[in-house]
């Protein structure tokens, strides 16, 4: 409606340059008038305003649409204003944008979005699991267990086993309390932070609140909530990013010239740097072009050499991943198997602390160190510069995901270690984990803490020092730069920790939320104070869609182990909401069995393999349909492009013809006069 008034208020076109009376400029003028007619020319704001007040033109149809629509418009405007006022960190993002441009700002927007995501996540878990359990623990607590007569339930075992799960700790010294806090052991172990704290019974106040059912439903719903949030986020990005199938490298010069100036820049020093870096970029792009042309005519020998080097490097990368895997496996095994608690007598507390933290330190060290190696060896491989960045990124993502997968795998091996007593606790060579869920939760707890400590020390100690050294020694390469992809990967990694760990430590999203909150200010400090402007700017749109994709991939990687554990891994007998059940999933089955017959029939049908198969087939068909439509549209685009070209040629031809006839007519007239 009134948006129509806004779109295309084109300015009065400038003065047409007709200083020379040559044919070209005549033609040009003619073309201009043709184009003018074909477009709707709407005047400036002041003119629009004048017309509106004087002639009632361009007014939204107030009378015809009635009062209701007016109200809706007002409410919508009001909501927009509220959203505008509530939007947090607008000023911060603007300042960063002015300093580093929109590429870096997009990281901060992503970070802000992650904070929203984790806030919702945290509220779900906190409100529906933690508060009921903590607040109503002493009030009307029944021993009722859902589905007590069912074959899935073993109440006796778990009662017997729960009594064995006692923590003996002496919280005497401050240092011990602190160490326990950092490790999530001792007094921390039976707090609402970890899975083991939660009870497997019903809470009864007027109506019963079944903790196990709530636990599993909230966890599943949290995952669904994450998917919805991500889908919403990436949908808006994908619309922009995957617009055309043709590679963007074709448009590099166009992009460089027309789009590389970031209008958001406000900082004078950064702007000067930007001008310089633009020049550098243009020149490097030119040399690149030459290089690429040279690459086209390589001899077979040279070609074979490049391939050989690449294969070698890829083998090396795989070796790196393998070594990393082994290190993670080894350290996890070392901490649990080889260092029994009684061996610590005589050792200092700090030794125990170090050993406890060994896996987290290993993972963090690998994540910090190996990307450097990757970026170094990728230079040898002789890729095109823009491909090089992508390849380094892909390898780093692989490393990050792989390290988490290795961790989960080695934890899984410990949990599934076979000789077990009837309390589901490992005996003989297996680690005696009374509550393995809490144990896994502790691992993720430690990883999050480690992650935070590292990013904190990087921002507060390492980067200022680097800045100082680069100033003193005049080495510009030492000066820290804001590396967007690396920072995003850090963020995605932390988010994956939250997804993997939240089931075993329901308050982990809260920690991650706090971590992100702190990270925002730390990174802001780092971006505004320590980091120099990027030499090669990161394109905002490219990064946005890439972030979303990476996050999606890691989300599905995180969902797999959680789903597997819920469905197949027997829970501990001595702790947690599912201690009486065979599998965690059983609580859902039992609930459905207690429903009226038709309802449970429907649910059973919906979860049957026949139904799911049908759904999958339908989805695949739909996907195929979409792909077909996409390719058809691409064809149309090609066709339209050709048509446009042909039309332009035609127009050009007619213009020339018209000009010729005009001159002939003029000549004729002139000759007649003579």
């Amino acid at each position: 409606m009134f948006s129509n008034n806004k779109i295309s208020p084109l300015p009065n076109n400038g003065v047409v340059d007709d200083s020379s009376g040559s044919q070209v400029s005549q033609r040009r003028q003619a073309v201009v008038t043709v184009e003018q007619n074909s477009q709707i020319w709407t005047p400036h704001l002041s003119e629009r305003l004048r017309r509106r007040t004087e002639f009632g033109e361009l007014k939204p149809t107030k009378k015809s649409s009635g009062n209701l629509e007016q109200k809706i418009i007002q409410i919508r405007r009001f909501l927009r204003e509220v959203a505008f006022k509530l939007e947090p960190w607008r000023e911060s993002v603007k300042a960063i944008e002015g300093h580093h441009g929109s590429g870096v700002a997009s990281y901060f927007l992503f970070l802000r979005w992650s904070i929203y995501l984790n806030f919702g996540f945290f509220m779900l878990l906190f409100g529906l699991i933690v508060i009921p359990q903590v607040a109503f623990k002493k009030k009307n607590y029944t021993t009722a267990v859902l589905g007590i007569n069912s074959s899935y339930v073993h109440v006796n075992y778990s009662q017997h086993c729960s009594q064995q799960y006692i923590l003996n700790y002496s919280s005497t010294s401050v240092s011990e309390i602190l160490l326990d806090f950092l490790q999530g052991t001792g007094w921390m172990e039976k707090t609402p932070l970890f899975y083991g704290y939660y009870e497997g019974k019903e809470l009864n106040y007027d109506k019963s609140y079944i903790i196990p059912l709530a636990y599993i439903l909230v966890c599943i719903f949290s995952l669904i909530y994450s998917v919805i949030m991500m889908a919403k986020k990436s949908a808006s990005n994908f619309q922009d990013s995957i617009y055309d199938a043709t590679p963007s490298s074709h448009y590099q010069f166009f992009t460089l010239v027309f789009l590389s100036w970031d209008y958001t820049m406000t900082d004078e020093i950064s702007a000067k740097l930007k001008l310089k870096s633009l020049k550098k970029q243009i020149i490097s792009e030119l040399t690149d072009k030459q290089y690429r042309q040279k690459r086209k005519n390589l001899t077979t020998y040279q070609y074979a050499r490049i391939i050989f080097i690449r294969v070698l490097v890829n083998i090396f990368v795989l070796l790196c991943l393998g070594t990393g895997a082994y290190l993670i496996y080894f350290t996890t095994q070392f901490t649990t198997f080889h260092v029994k608690p009684d061996e610590f007598h005589g050792h200092h507390e700090s030794v125990r602390f170090l050993v406890e933290y060994l896996p987290s330190i290993t993972i963090s060290a690998l994540n910090g160190f190996i990307p450097f190696v990757f970026s170094f060896i990728t230079k040898v491989e002789d890729y095109l510069p823009q491909n090089q960045v992508i390849i380094i990124l892909i390898r780093t993502i692989l490393l990050r995901l792989a390290s988490l997968i290795f961790l989960v795998a080695s934890l899984y091996k410990e949990v599934m270690c076979t000789p077990k007593d009837n309390c589901n606790v490992g005996v003989a060579d297996c680690p005696p984990l009374r509550c393995w869920e809490t144990y896994i939760g502790q691992q993720f707890y430690k990883l999050v803490i480690m992650d935070f400590l590292i990013s904190f020390s990087l921002c507060v100690i390492v980067e200022p020092l680097r800045k100082l050294f680069s100033r003193c020694l005049k080495i510009s390469s030492l000066e820290p730069q804001f590396d967007v992809p690396k920072n995003v990967l850090d963020l995605v990694y932390t988010q994956s920790l939250s997804w993997l760990g939240f089931f075993f430590a329901p308050l982990l999203p809260c920690m991650v939320l706090l971590k992100f909150f702190g990270t925002f200010y730390l990174k802001k400090l780092s971006a505004l104070k320590w980091c120099a402007a990027l030499e090669k700017p990161y394109k905002a749109s490219k990064s946005q869609s890439l972030f979303a994709t990476v996050l999606m991939i890691s989300f599905f990687f995180c969902c797999l182990p959680i789903g597997y554990i819920i469905c197949y891994v027997p829970p501990s007998r001595s702790c947690g909401p599912f201690r009486v059940y065979n599998n965690m999933y059983d609580i859902l089955t039992i609930t459905v069995e207690l429903w009226p017959l038709t309802a449970s029939m429907i649910v059973r049908f919906l979860s049957s393999s026949a139904f799911i198969l049908t759904i999958i087939v339908i989805l695949i068909l739909f996907l195929y349909h979409c792909a077909q439509r996409g390719s058809a549209q691409n064809e149309t685009i090609k066709l339209l492009r050709k048509q446009l070209n042909a039309e332009r040629k035609e127009k050009f031809y007619f213009m020339m013809e018209a000009n010729n006839t005009a001159t002939i007519v003029a000549e004729n007239k002139a000759s007649r006069k003579q």
């Binding site: 008034n5 806004k6 295309s8 208020p9 084109l10 300015p11 009065n12 076109n13 400038g14 003065v15 340059d17 040009r28 201009v32 184009e35 400036h44 704001l45 002041s46 305003l49 007040t53 939204p60 405007r77 204003e81 505008f84 441009g101 929109s102 922009d240 990013s241 617009y243 055309d244 043709t246 963007s248 074709h250 448009y251 010069f253 166009f254 460089l256 027309f258 789009l259 590389s260 100036w261 970031d262 209008y263 958001t264 406000t266 900082d267 004078e268 702007a271 000067k272 001008l275 633009l278 020049k279 243009i282 020149i283 072009k289 905002a540 749109s541 492009r641 070209n645 040629k649 050009f652």
Partner: protein, 195 residues
């Protein structure tokens, strides 16, 4: 609330502006505040309207470092030396993050069309490249040595025309410009000024 500087902005104006621009109330008031603050330094009244010299508009922090600030101002002020509030608001609205791509593309085209002939010709692109590497043409030292050589510029322009100039007339028309802008999702994020 920060309503004090809006003495001259009536509620009716605000409603009108909200409907004709992409701004909400706060943003309009913010733009007005920025505009009024310039007035303290210099006023030139033409009747009732407040007019601010373009030179001063170009010095607000949001535009100060922009190598195309004079072009932006002249496009939005119809090539005059003065700008009134409505023109200023129009400029900020087009450059806000809510404005649609087509509109932004149109103004970008006009900004880069240095000789105002509705065509981006080689001459325009040359000047564009100079500004991208050296800023406004008032820094003689950079223009003496820092800028790209003519040969390099010619090469780049050739590359651009090879991709964008569909009818091979060695000029870019608005539709050709739009055609490529549509494929560059970065445009919408880079052609933005936050007030």
């Amino acid at each position: 609330m920060g309503l004090s500087p809006s003495v001259l902005l009536t509620e009716k104006d605000l409603v009108n502006y909200q409907e004709l621009t992409y701004f909400n109330k706060q943003e309009i008031l913010q733009a007005y505040r920025v505009f009024r603050n310039l007035k303290k330094q210099s006023i030139r009244d033409r009747g009732e309207e407040l007019q601010i010299p373009v030179q001063m508009i170009m010095n607000i922090p949001e535009l100060k470092v922009n190598p195309f600030r004079d072009r932006l101002c002249s496009v939005f002020s119809n090539n005059r030396d003065y700008m009134n509030f409505e023109e200023f608001l129009d400029m900020m609205s087009v450059l806000s993050s809510n404005a649609p791509k087509d509109l932004k593309a149109h103004y970008a085209f006009n900004v880069y069309d240095f000789n105002n002939d509705q065509r981006l010709c080689e001459e325009d692109l040359m000047q564009l490249l100079d500004r991208l590497t050296c800023g406004l043409p008032n820094d003689p030292s950079c223009y003496m040595e820092g800028k790209l050589s003519d040969k390099e510029k010619k090469k780049i322009i050739k590359e651009i025309f090879a991709i964008a100039d569909l009818d091979r007339d060695q000029e870019l028309s608005f539709s050709e410009f739009c055609h490529i802008i549509d494929k560059s999702p970065d445009f919408i994020t880079s052609f933005i000024i936050h007030l």
